[in-house]
Amino acid sequence: MTNRTYPRPMVYVLVWLALLVLLAVTVSSAFLPLGWANTPLNLAVSVTQAALVMLFSMHLRSAHPLIKIIAVIGFVGIAIMIILTLFDVLTR
């Protein structure tokens, strides 16, 4: 097991700080009258936060390729489900 390397704890602290900054960004952006752009902005922040947690805290960056594929499949599944469902609702 000597060849196994782990991230340094400072990485988790930096991720945590970035997550808190992004939380402040997303909350304060909601108070700006940006019209339709508010929601995409909030979701973009959420995706960034989720990516930080999954890549660093959940060690996806150094994970086995098979595990990376499984992780992506979950989100692709959600995207297909929501987008195809909205195709129906939005084109009635």
Binding site: M1, T2, R4, Y6, P7, P9, Y12, V13, V15, W16, L19, L20, L23, T26, V27, A30, F31, L32, P33, L34, N38, T39, N42, L43, V45, S46, Q49, A50, V53, M54, S57, M58, A63, H64, L66, I67, I70, A71, I73, G74, F75, G77, I78, M81, I82, T85, L86, V89, L90
Partner: protein
């Protein structure tokens, strides 16, 4: 190295393969969890697209200060969990128990704040079926938002509760010296589950609390 070889079950070639297998297993479970919440998000997307104004009005009635605080609490619990896993990787038993206990405490704080929030929602007559009163336009659609709000947050809260139970269990196991740097799979996979519950909240929070505050 002899210890490392002894640390894996007979069906695996080595500890590394065993670790990958258990990680693959929890990730498949997490993918099903993502899809499980995905159904709720899809239902939310459909109703919000149909009733955007009602959802914006309803979102303004949710308690942003408490929910924002809760988000910070959950993000911090993710940090303490990651540090717990880090301590387990290096076999620091007391640090593992400490970080895991702190994670349990933060998880409980999240649920306590959520409970206060539910109580305030109840006092403001925002609980569908039980006591829902809304004077503005599109009251039925606003009520629909609150059905979603309570269902999504309650299902997420249940996941937090299960996570607290799992983390408390492995904290006790760690205190009894059940883990080593070669074997800490339960801490590893529980950590992954806890982070995912955090990730899901990162999406639940903006879609319920931040629709329109300006």
């Amino acid at each position: 190295m002899a210890d490392a070889l002894a640390a894996h079950a007979p069906q695996f070639d080595d500890a590394e393969q065993q670790r990958t297998a258990s990680n693959l297993g929890i990730w498949i479970f997490l993918a099903t969890e993502i899809l499980f919440f995905g159904v709720l998000f899809a239902a939310y997307a459909i109703t919000r697209v149909r009733f955007p104004d009602a959802f914006a009005a309803a979102s303004r009635l949710t308690n942003l200060p408490l929910a924002g605080t809760n988000t910070a609490v959950l993000l911090t619990s993710s940090l303490t969990m990651a540090l717990g896993v880090h301590a387990a990787q290096h076999g620091a038993r007391r640090a593992v128990v400490g970080w895991l206990s702190l994670t349990v405490a933060l998880g409980c704080a999240f649920l306590a704040i959520k409970a206060v929030e539910y109580r305030l929602d109840y006092l403001e007559h925002l609980v569908p079926t039980l006591d829902f009163r809304y004077a503005g336009p599109q009251a039925d659609q606003v009520e629909l938002f609150f059905y979603m709000y309570f269902f999504i947050t309650a299902v997420h809260g249940l996941h937090v509760l299960i996570g607290i139970g799992c983390i408390a269990t492995i904290a006790v196991m760690a205190a009894r010296n059940a883990f080593s740097p070669d074997y800490f799979t339960p801490i590893d996979v529980t950590g992954l589950y806890w982070h995912l519950v955090d990730v899901i909240w990162l999406f639940v929070f903006p879609i319920l609390y931040l629709i329109s505050r300006s």
